[in-house]
């Protein structure tokens, strides 16, 4: 087991979480909690795979996947924003809906393996010469990984340093005040739920067209959408921290798979090699770590008084008192 290879594939796996997490950050920063990430990712993965197969062009697959997930996110947006329903339960509903749609239209896709074109892989010249980092971050990665590197600082800059980003935060912190200033609260919330959907679709497409190509029903995402929602809390709604969390989690997922390989680890007999059944406990780890990350995130948030966007989860009703 080469640690560098584990870390490198961790970066690739983490990229999926990265897109989904940042997407959810956009949505939650505008005040709308969208629990449908898992379902939207699944829809993205299915659509990307299907359209990549039929058109022969993975980029078209990627684009359609983003649009599909973006469109279905608007169901949640309508229920949560216009109909002012409970966002938790509406998000769960979106999950069921998107999963159902994906399963219906994903029927028979599994057999298409090996004929579906994938997204290209790249090695960045010069940067890959950097010791250690070059191998982990810049060698033979999916193009989506590199787009991810560029995307994170851009997302951070957009949210924290631009005027539209200021409006986004205003709508999520104090919609009534934003409304008074002429910011279109409802429109912006719809828009950022859509952005969240686009990115969840992108995350799903990244899985099925690049990171672990294929369509395996609900196992394609296997809970990564939920982990992403957990990471948002850990990341305290900050894309940079989200990237850190996503790559850590990606590495962890890979480590869990790869640690069963060698017979000796750190000079000791590797129990996971000699008893493969212990692998089931390894598989629990990413999920257990999500819970641990949540505990850390919640405690830190309490200490630093950085909390959730103040209006998160609350419908904005014009003319009513409160946020």
């Amino acid at each position: 087991m080469d640690l560098l290879i584990v870390l490198a594939s961790g970066v690739a796996t983490g990229t999926v979480l990265l897109y989904a997490t940042v997407g959810e950050i956009f949505s939650e920063r505008s005040g709308i909690l969208n629990l449908g990430v898992e379902g939207m990712m699944l829809l993205g993965a299915m659509t990307a795979y299907r359209f990549s197969a039929t058109t022969g062009n993975p980029w078209i697959g990627l684009l359609v996947a983003m649009l599909a997930a973006g469109l279905i996110s608007q169901v949640h947006a309508f229920i949560a924003i216009t109909l002012q329903a409970d966002q938790v339960i509406s998000g769960l509903a979106l999950n069921f809906l998107a999963t159902g749609v994906s399963l219906v239209f994903g029927e028979g896709l599994t057999s298409l393996r090996d004929v579906v074109p994938q997204l290209p892989k790249l090695t960045i010249p010069l940067l890959n010469q950097i010791p250690i980092l070059g191998k982990v971050f810049f060698t033979n990665h999916s193009i989506m990984v590199f787009i991810g590197y560029l995307f994170v600082p851009l997302a951070w800059y957009y949210i924290n340093r631009t005027r539209p980003g200021l409006h986004l935060r205003a709508v999520g912190e104090y919609p009534a005040a934003a409304d008074t200033l002429g910011i279109r609260v409802f429109g912006l919330r719809y828009f950022y739920v859509f952005v969240g959907g686009l990115l969840a679709g992108l995350a799903g497409a990244t899985i099925s067209l690049s990171i672990s190509p294929g369509w395996f029903g609900v196992l394609t995402t296997s809970g990564q959408g939920w982990i992403a929602i957990g990471l948002v809390i850990f990341a305290q709604w900050n894309p940079i921290r989200a990237a850190f969390g996503a790559f850590t989690f990606g590495a962890l997922r890979r480590l869990v798979l790869d640690i069963q390989g060698p017979s000796i680890i750190l000079g000791l007999a590797n129990p996971f090699f000699y008893n493969t059944y212990y692998g089931f406990f390894l598989k629990m780890l990413p999920y257990a770590f999500t819970v641990i990350f949540l505990v850390i995130g919640s405690r830190e948030a309490k200490r630093k008084r950085i909390g959730t966007p103040a209006a998160l989860g609350l419908p904005y009703i014009r003319g009513q008192r409160g946020l």
Binding site: L83, Q84, V88, L103, V104, I317, G319
Partner: protein, 377 residues
């Protein structure tokens, strides 16, 4: 109060009526809520029909098939009830938690742990192999409930102590529970290398209606088991607790207005942990009844997502424990006869559409929608 005018008033109205939406001040009429549930189901069936049609099937024939193979005869009705039993229990588990706005979506994991706990009684073994049946059933039910409650305690404690979001933590616990069971199925209790335990001996089975066939001929071949009595009893008890006791009042108060509850001296943290444990125990009992009443061994595929369907059932029943019974039977039919529907994702899709339409329709509970004549300015 907010008034949303859907049609913008124009100078010369082409259509002399407009839709006016206003908040309800008074309670909605009693018949409205069940009516909306029915409408949601109808919409979902229509969407399902559309999808089957697009996929090249015959929707009407498919639905007739579902109805025939879930309610058409005593035998299939009994099978429907068998599917409805775990759904009732997980539906109740979700209802009590949701009533407090505690989003336990970990019923699936608590179900698996309940199945694990019940299996332990037979496989570890806790009881000697020739112990009487009543003792087996009671011990297995208690173990199932304790293990389910334990699985509910963890996220409950984390929520109460560290304010950890229970939605994520309960969901993560689902995945952990499945791996936990897998370890025991593959490594410890495996029978001859297969991914399942040995078959439980007969005295660890819940009695079925067919066991009475010797006395009453009608019951021969009917698979409905004692779990149904557990589920109905649980529903009645839960209804009583929620509607008639002080604890039930506290739960409803926390759900409706946590701040008022806190001022009234209700201990919120303690209630979070308690309700999570009760919720987990109910889901655990579902796991026990499935293991002891249907599968008769511990194996991997014991749930086609009962825990998640329970969420929809709870919502369809508007969190009313007695209505959960009815909703569960409907979903039992959908799961039982829906297995043969092509494309195979259709039942999941129908569940999803039911859920979406239900939540959207809550709008009509909170608001009055009236069509009124435009007033000339």
């Amino acid at each position: 109060m907010s008034e949303v005018e859907v049609n913008k008033p124009s100078k010369r109205p082409i259509f002399p009526y407009k839709i006016k939406v206003e908040n309800r001040v008074e309670n909605p009429p009693r018949w409205l809520s069940p009516l909306l549930s029915v409408v949601a189901v109808v919409i979902a069936l229509l969407v399902g029909a559309l999808v089957i049609r697009i996929a090249g099937g015959q929707p009407w024939a498919v639905y007739k098939h579902i109805a025939k193979y879930s309610f058409g005869s005593l035998g299939v009705l009994s099978d429907t009830m068998v599917k409805a039993i775990p759904l009732m229990l997980v539906g109740l588990a979700c209802s009590i938690a949701f009533r407090m706005k505690l989003w336990n979506i970990g019923a699936e994991g608590q179900f698996f742990l309940g199945a694990f706990g019940a299996s332990m009684v037979v496989l570890l073994p806790i009881l000697p192999e020739d112990a009487p049946q009543w003792l087996f059933i009671i011990t297995m039910a208690v173990f199932g409930m304790v293990f389910g409650a334990l699985w509910g305690f963890i996220p409950g404690f984390l929520k109460a102590r560290y304010n950890v979001n229970e939605i994520i933590s309960t969901l993560m616990m689902n995945y952990i529970a499945i791996e936990w069971n897998n370890y025991f199925i593959y490594a410890v209790w495996t029978e001859g290398g297969f991914q399942m335990s040995r078959m439980f001996q007969r005295n660890a089975w819940l009695p079925r209606l067919s066991d009475l066939a010797g006395r009453w001929k009608v019951f021969s071949g009917l698979t409905t088991h004692l779990g149904l009595a557990f589920a109905v009893a649980a529903a009645v008890i839960l209804w009583f607790v929620l509607a008639k006791t002080q604890w039930g009042y506290e739960i409803r108060l926390i759900g409706d207005n946590p701040r008022a509850a806190e001022y009234a001296g209700v201990k919120i943290g303690r209630n979070i942990i308690l309700v999570m444990m009760v919720s987990g125990a109910l889901a655990g009992l579902a796991g026990m009844s499935e293991i002891s009443g249907v599968v008769h061994r511990l194996q991997g595929a014991i749930s086609p997502g009962y825990g998640y369907t329970g969420i929809i059932i709870a919502w369809l029943a508007k969190l009313n424990p007695l209505a959960v019974i009815v909703a569960s039977i409907l979903f039992g039919a959908l799961i039982l006869a829906g297995r043969e529907v092509q494309p195979s994702g259709v039942p999941t899709l129908i569940q999803g559409v039911i859920m979406v339409s239900l939540i959207a329709s809550d709008f009509f509970l909170r608001n009055r929608v009236r069509i009124i004549r435009r007033v000339e300015d």
